[in-house]
Symmetry: C2
């Protein structure tokens, strides 16, 4: 259960920055079939010119009967019935049917309509006609069709339907086309709601949004999972988290958050790790881990209420429901869990990490939803996590879980320099490397607490996504650097 | 005028990835004076414990007379008048005065209050008393003072007052303390408004917010200003802009934006360049550069209206006013400008970039505010910028300027594969290296246009910031990697 914020490893290993590396790109060949381009006699590519969309698909309904419209989008399907062609055009809001009957549109336009292939980007000028069987109860009878970019190939997968028809790698190689699938459209509209809901919730709680540097001088968490960069003539690293910066920012701004990229060079090939993820980082002055747990669970509730409210159609399409939640979320202390696991026959000593596999041996239905594991052994958490005053073996820390998946990790932080140095040394870190951070502790760092939450992890849980790669636009992992 | 999006340089130069580099940190010594810690007999550091703030500073007013409050914050100033001490405590919303009279609070608490130094983080429990001369018309008479983190040193600069008292490097070395200055507080509250206003405006225009990868396989813009990374066993780069990704995303989502970090390894030491900046990237399908210019200028108007509305106190403190703007913004074509510059005696051939210095030779007061320079020579712009159909020497491109400073750069993009390959080749780029991008052009990339805007640049213009480093929390430049 080590992912967000709280990893604890020995000092980052010597980086073997070798001599110049060759650029090895992942350019696995996408299986595609060329269209017969000789047929392209009529459907020529034209510029946008003065054409502009007058209506989105969702606006084209029976009430618009006989009105002239210009619609634009890409072709999601074509059905050819001899003397009649149906072209379904998709735009950001939905679908509209274009119906070209030979007897109505004339030979030339009809011939052109028959040339249109899936994925072509086009505009259609025409009249609206009520049509019960068409999406939204109306169709467009074309007067003019303008192709902006003609599809040259058949995609190696369908973009209609719910399930992914081919392996994820084939889809990711052609991600921009893959993203035309309605399933991903729904997922990313839910993502939009989640991100907006987080910002709304935190802004109402007096948080301000910050940006911290992604190029940093030292490993924040200890740990080996770092990407080295050439920073002019120096070595630097990509930030694993905004941890130390967000803590410092509580000195001036008290309550801060950041939604931004984090970078983890984890050589794993699981369905729940990314090399580049989006982290929701929250830090609050004059608060402890109890306060930020309460904040986090109310934030989750607000997110879920927002998705229920704003993504009805998406939830329906994905055939999923948001979990019903009650406050407070269940809390298990690490020590109690270890006891229970040992009672259940697991050979897990106190002080070990608890793996998702091991958790499954506990029969507790509350473990299917959101719950906290609190008060972890101090040795399992990074140097900045505050040990409990009455029992320093244990620290004021939590993980927010959803079933076996870690969503978030947080804690009360140490706000005194001497304690921080002591903890660094115990973990084998050199305080000198953190001078730029430690020096601010001479100037009244307030008590503070916070958490980091993985946005893609949360999306996996809410939208029932099997592979974390589908919770991000262009995933990065040990094997994939492109597109 | 090359900063956002549109740089055009020969293929990135061979990167001399040498052998292991030593970590050279910038740890210039901050000039500080140690407090006499032997005096710390009374003021001990304590944990937050069960203490919680009951009121923010702004809530402590005459109407609260005789009420008990717990306030928290950091000490921004202390005045000692023998038998009376005034401690000004600052929190995220303002200031509150704590008045400790020996005769009122007793010897022990009075002695403790006299020990409090600037920057100490503390909590005060006490009663509110109206006091005309105090901030907000009330003061707190302490019953208990709890120091959470005692300042150990005097900061090398004042955190009160408007102007920066020392060189920017001294401030940046201790940035977290520097950020306690009210001037920076106002700047970053304005930043918050700007970012929120951008999101509001674009969401209302049907844009969705995306995240594109920051670790990429090839240089997006051509150009040499790249940071190389070790990506597992491969070489990769930090993204200079989300350009190609945001373009691809118009295929599925039509209108997208991203507010995120961009990375430029520019070895410059100007007051307007950063190695890591925040870019506002916008891309829209079925639009040309005229459409996105109209969008951008309306966005600027909405931003300015929002700042006027939400940051009155900050504008007053900074003694600045938002510019009065009219739509549309003035537009100068590149060719007309060159003519005018040549008439004004400048020796600038058509095809050259126009430097801020050169622009000053034009006497036109409209050049003090926001204006566009449009229709740049195609050779000065990156490969994805669309040449004009009727005059391919010139392209459908624009820069948004504020006085001599470039705010944003945008264009209509090429949406056809053959044209894109042709332009790549003309600029000495190898299409093979862009295979991951070019392949999507077989599947109907819509006509599209967009822009990138530098958030820090815009903040410089709006908040009259002299050095771009003060428009970001923790700046990065050729000399600075820490804090």
């Amino acid at each position: 259960m080590l992912f967000f914020g709280d990893t604890c490893k020995p000092l980052f290993s010597c980086l073997s920055l070798g001599s110049r590396l060759s650029v090895k790109l992942i350019t696995s060949t996408v299986q595609t079939r060329l269209f017969n381009l000789e047929e392209e006699g009529l459907l020529k590519e034209e510029d946008l010119g003065q054409w502009r969309r007058t209506h989105y698909s969702k606006e084209v309904g029976p009430a618009m009967a006989d009105r002239e419209v210009v619609i634009m989008g890409w072709v999601s399907s074509v059905r050819d019935h001899g003397n009649i062609s149906f072209i379904i055009i998709k735009d950001m809001h939905g679908e509209v049917q274009v119906t070209a009957k030979k007897s109505e549109v004339g030979e030339q336009l009809f011939a052109l309509a028959k040339e249109v292939k899936e994925h072509t980007s086009l505009g259609v000028r025409g009249k609206v006609r009520p049509q019960e069987k068409a999406p939204n109860g109306a169709e467009v009878v074309p007067a003019e069709i303008k192709a902006f970019s003609v599809a040259k190939k058949a995609a190696p997968f369908m973009t209609t339907g719910k399930s992914s028809p081919v392996g994820i790698d084939t889809r990711l190689d052609l991600r921009a086309v893959d993203l035309r699938r309605q399933q991903l459209g729904s997922i990313f509209r839910i993502r939009q709601t989640v991100v907006n809901a987080i910002r709304e919730f935190l802004s109402r709680q007096d948080f301000i949004e910050v940006s911290t540097p992604k190029m940093i001088a030292t490993a924040t968490e200890g740990g080996a999972a770092l990407f080295p960069i050439f920073y002019y003539d120096r070595e630097a690293f990509l930030a694993q988290s905004p941890q130390l910066y967000k803590e410092q920012l509580t000195m001036a701004f008290e309550s801060v958050f950041e939604i931004g990229p984090i970078f983890r060079a984890e050589p794993s090939r699981t369905n729940r790790h990314l090399s580049e993820a989006t982290s929701v980082d929250v830090e609050r002055a004059f608060a402890d881990y109890g306060d930020v747990m309460a904040l986090l669970e109310r934030m989750i509730i607000h997110i879920i209420d927002s998705v229920k409210d704003r993504n009805k159609a998406d939830l329906e399409f994905l055939e999923i429901a948001m979990p019903a939640l009650e406050l407070p979320f269940p809390k298990y202390s690490y020590s109690d869990l270890i006891d229970k696991l040992q009672e259940a026959g697991e050979r897990i000593p106190w002080g070990d990490d608890i793996s998702p596999q091991v958790m499954k041996s506990l029969q507790d239905e509350r473990l299917n939803g959101f719950y906290f594991i609190v008060d972890w052994p101090t040795s399992t958490k990074p140097f900045y996590v505050k040990p409990k005053a009455d029992d320093p073996k244990v620290c004021e820390s939590f993980d927010l879980m959803y079933g076996p998946l870690e969503m978030s990790s947080g804690s009360t932080r140490i706000n005194r320099k001497d304690q921080l140095i002591e903890r660094m040394q115990k973990q084998g870190l050199k305080p000198d490397a953190f001078d730029y951070h430690l020096r601010v502790f001479d100037f009244g760092v307030p008590p503070h607490a916070g958490f980091g939450m993985g946005l893609e992890r949360l999306l996996m849980a809410l939208a029932k996504i099997e592979n974390i790669r589908d919770a991000t636009f262009y995933p990065r992992d040990i094997d994939r650097l492109a597109p």
